[in-house]
Symmetry: C2
Subunit: 491 residues, 2 copies
């Protein structure tokens, strides 16, 4: 493909992306393909000779688009949102035209420098303490792929610090703390590192938040048993229910354990800190006072295309002490002099993409006000949704609505004597109906044995009428589930 | 930014990328900025109000481009190449317009299915054994970010298998084997996982390749000392010199250690397997016979934009046994039924980008023949370069040239009595002259105490005249270094 062929194919790609977004609302949200559909459609081997790009571009429309679930669809309310903005696409486009592995400053100075700058910009708009800024040259921020990577790196840094202070402790004695509501990233960090994970219990009465006393009892038990808890992964806005662990209480207990690292995962909710009115609910003062590391994913609810997980640490040396590798072939003048950041020592791999560009594009193109407006628009839509659930005779909350997430289930006033097991069966039937639809995407979860449904608002194109339609669909399927249930039990 | 604004900004981005490639040859290869240049140029905070995108796009040209080192420049011979093709850019562009976290099949079926297909296509064009294909449903391939991630995952899988078979072995007793020439990925896997790394010695006489007997002695020593070697990271084409560890000899020894995992890292050289004539030199038969896992990076010498690290395993269950996390909120109908791949359990994080699209675009647009032609063109250019070094009176090889890599140094016939220390000083002075130039990029390394210079060919735009110019520059700087040396010593 020469330059002029690329120009034509590039214009066409831009046009087709425009067409995609023009027609997005009319598409099914979830792909309706069956497993194996693509392997059946494609040849078993790469072609021996070059194919015309027009054919390839057309095949993308023909074979790939029907196999996509449209996470940017206005009726996508599943999991958490995945951001996609036009500015983000443009950031990725420019970045992908000048790829380099970015493992040190010299590899391409602009990449490292822009990352250091935009991580300070984002720290500032979220209200993070200055000790997390790159300008301190003590703390700092870095872009990772996912919140799982961020938590894994925090765990590696914490383990490394702990072992330096306690060199004779066996790895088998180390314990990573999460709660039963922590995202799979906690368990996965344990699996990857081969370390014990203890998931602390939380209760519905406490809105699934970790309490200080629970931590205190666990720490005492484990230390008495000769174990060494070295990190706690606390969450601001859990995946299942938006729970907010009580960082103040946690810190009161943790202060007696100086080598217990506090990693705060706010993968989804963290971007809401851009709005001053949510900072108290998201415990910003406690994050600023106590967190050793903090993560939020701008690629979820933060308008920046996947991948864009932000990790800030109070002491960058804990990362570099744990991860520094500098063979001769990676040495450089400025790296040797220590005057620059070499981001390879802040993450797991060596090479890294030029992800800061999309941050720069989106932050500037939207402005802080644009970010704030988007977040508050989503929370207002969720407030409306939650209000309708609250007023309903058939549904009830499974957890307190938080920001743009409402977790609810069928709990009809007409059937007040159902047991938890019966209610779970009822709700599994209800969810199966919702999951079978292609005009809405919504996901399930389990809260301490209670099966329920999550409504997460955040696609940028979602407006009030989409939430109204979702309420209609949910209401219809709820009523249909109840009719079926009553028929089955002869009620 | 609305759809029509995106269309205009998108066209402009395509045009500016075209301009960039039209002017690339005339740019300096390496950025000439000083540390901190960008922070000085940019505001300290994100703007409160939205800015016009035209201003942002212009600032990219003004502030970012001058801070880039141009890895796709025809005179870029440093490190290893980083691929960038127009088809790869288009693949990234389409993919970034439909982002989704891709953690399971249901998240967006096309993403998982296309990855499974293109990993089989690439396995096939490289001549990998069928047991590595996804169609076997036993082995399989997956796209990772970097070779460091691939090696880390292989190490996690190997450790997990080893511990399942030897549940009472302490982690402190586990040993990861590399050689002294293994890429930093070996040391980094050890750092991340907190495990011992033993770098086995290799010699210049063996072309820096690991021999079976070295491994045999180390295994005996370590096992006698109560240690448990559980993985060997062998390399086809080391970063420093293109060394090829002797897999046949290694396998002869390793067969007595059934739980010693053999990971073959061919991050750079592996793509050369696309040409049948290089398969013997790259030990394809031994890879196919003995490797538990194999990695090559198409984003280096394989025409596919960063990131595109391919990892194949003989038994996918070793990955999923080690890494499976399936909380309720990630369960899905097809995942529960086991009829689909859920790639989240094949890598470190949870979310993943839609990287298979660029593979599909590039593989089809170039065809197998196009790939082969590109690889052989590069190796021919390197053969010419190596021939000129061989004929020279001032330079000598520091290692046997391999594929598109030549490692050499100043070793003038006029100064036959220099010691290794003197030669190193001479070559550091020589390299400092090369590194100070902005019209060529080339890097240094150290081979068992011998300082030398690496010439790695692979930018797609590099043609014969660029290699000729590099030879001229290298010759000039070599002569200037020698004149300086002779003046200094009064010769």
């Amino acid at each position: 493909m020469d330059i002029e062929q690329f120009r034509r194919a590039g214009y066409q790609a831009i046009d087709r992306i425009c067409d995609y977004y023009i027609s997005l609302r009319d598409r099914p949200v979830s792909s309706q393909v069956e497993p194996g559909y693509l392997r059946k459609a494609l040849p078993a081997s790469a072609p021996p000779e070059a194919e015309d790009f027009q054919l390839i571009a057309d095949d993308y429309q023909k074979y790939i688009i029907p196999g996509l679930t449209h996470w940017q669809h206005p009726s996508f309310f599943a999991y958490f949102p995945t951001a996609c903005t036009f500015e983000g696409i443009l950031g990725e486009l420019y970045a992908s035209s000048v790829p380099n592995p970015g493992f040190n400053w010299s590899a391409s100075p602009a990449c490292t420098e822009l990352e250091a700058v935009v991580m300070d910009w984002t720290a500032q708009i979220l209200g993070l303490d200055k000790s997390f800024y790159n300008t301190t040259e003590v703390g700092g921020g870095v872009i990772q792929t996912t919140a799982s990577d961020s938590a894994l790196i925090a765990t590696v840094a914490a383990r490394s610090r702990y072992i330096r202070e306690h060199p004779h402790v066996a790895m088998e004695k180390l314990v990573l703390y999460t709660t039963t509501q922590t995202h799979s990233l906690g368990k996965k960090a344990g699996l990857v590192l081969g370390l014990k994970v203890r998931a602390l219990e939380v209760t519905a009465e406490d809105d699934f938040a970790l309490r200080g006393e629970t931590l205190e009892v666990a720490l005492k038990e484990d230390v008495d048993a000769g174990l060494h808890p070295f990190i706690l992964v606390a969450t601001i806005g859990t995946t299942s229910s938006g729970a907010v662990d009580r960082l103040g209480e946690i810190a009161d207990v943790a202060k007696h354990y100086p080598f217990l690292w506090l990693h705060v995962d706010a993968a989804w909710a963290g971007v809401a800190l851009v709005c001053p009115e949510y900072r108290e609910a998201c415990q910003l003062p406690a994050i600023n006072a106590y967190a050793d590391s903090f993560c939020t994913n701008f690629h979820k609810w933060g308008l920046i295309n996947f991948d864009a997980s932000c990790l800030w640490v109070r002491h960058r040396k804990h990362l570099t002490d744990a991860l520094d590798v500098t063979p001769e072939f990676l040495r450089s003048k400025h790296g040797d002099a220590g005057t620059v950041i070499d981001y390879r020592n802040w993450h797991l791999g060596l090479g890294r993409r030029f992800r800061s560009l999309k941050f720069w594009f989106v932050l500037r193109s939207r402005g802080v006000n644009g970010f704030q407006r988007y977040i508050t628009d989503c929370t207002k839509l969720n407030a409306k949704f939650a209000e309708r659930i609250r007023e309903s005779d058939q549904f009830c909350f499974a957890a307190k609505p938080f920001l743009a997430l409402t977790v609810f289930r069928l709990g009809p006033k007409s059937l007040p004597h159902l047991t938890t097991l019966e209610l779970n069966a009822l709700n599994r039937a209800f969810y199966a109906r919702l999951a079978a639809r292609s005009d809405i995407a919504i996901t399930q979860t389990d809260l301490n044995g209670v099966f329920c449904v999550r409504m997460a608002i955040g696609a940028e194109k979602t407006v009030e009428k989409d939430v109204d339609r979702a309420l209609d669909v949910i209401g219809q399927e709820g009523r249909a589930t109840l009719r079926e249930w009553e028929r089955m039990w002869g009620l």
